[in-house]
């Protein structure tokens, strides 16, 4: 079991290392991600949303729906734990 797991993990690791080879260098300002959407957000956030923290701007406005989803996830977890562990009561 251990050997099998180790092999599987190593396989995944090799694949990932292979992928890293073609990735833009660490901190490369010309990487596609930074050049494309990253720059768009940085350029637009202040005038579009009007908050200083770009992360918050994206979190709450551009990708606000993801955050709603995130809140639902945590809500789901809360209900789940209540269902699993709570005894008595109404949940």
């Amino acid at each position: 079991m251990n050997v099998k797991a180790l092999l599987a993990v190593l396989l995944i690791g090799v694949i990932l290392f292979w992928a890293v080879g073609d990735m833009p260098a660490f901190g490369d300002p010309q990487s596609p991600a930074t050049r494309y959407t990253g720059k768009l957000y940085v350029d637009l956030a202040l005038q579009d949303v009007g908050v200083e923290n770009i992360v918050t701007a994206i979190l709450a406005s551009y990708r606000g729906f993801d955050t709603l989803g995130e809140t639902v996830v945590i809500f789901t977890a809360g209900i789940s734990v209540a269902l699993l562990l709570r005894r008595g009561g109404r949940l």
Binding site: E52, V55, A60, E70, G78, G88
Partner: protein, 143 residues
């Protein structure tokens, strides 16, 4: 939990500070590091401290598990509700600009984001407290 006067006193003093800090974190989200989620968890931390200091049952009695659920509902409801308000104002879902133009007030955007963050914070706080009390609780509410 052991009854320890020092812990109790210190927590009694520090809990309000933590809570104020948590609120600050939530509101601060727009301008600096922080936001609803972090603030919510920090707020929950104050309750965890109380769990440790006063024991579960005492705090739960004061808090009421029912209210935790209600809070978590209120939190999401704020968020989703703002989304629906945007619909009502004629925009797409969560399109804050629509509310701005419907109400006619500029710069409402930031406040709406604060409100949304508040909603997240409330939900996260309530759920975290609820989860942790559930996991810590050995005997359940009423066996």
């Amino acid at each position: 939990m052991r009854e320890n006067v020092v812990i109790r006193t210190i927590s009694r003093i520090s809990v309000p500070f933590i809570q104020v800090f948590a609120l600050y974190v939530i509101v601060h989200g727009a301008v600096g590091a922080g936001g609803g989620f972090q603030g919510g968890v920090a707020f929950a931390a104050s309750f965890i401290l109380m769990f440790i200091a006063f024991g579960l049952s005492g705090v739960e009695k004061r808090l009421g598990k029912k209210w935790l659920m209600v809070y978590s509902i209120i939190g999401i409801a704020i968020y989703a509700g703002i989304g629906f308000l945007c619909l009502a104002a004629g925009g797409n879902y969560l399109e804050y600009g629509a509310i701005e133009s419907a109400v006619g007030v500029a710069h409402l955007h930031g406040y709406l984001i604060d409100a949304v963050e508040m909603g997240i914070g409330i939900t996260v706080m309530a759920v975290m407290v609820s989860i942790i009390s559930d996991v810590m609780d050995r005997d359940g509410e009423s066996p």
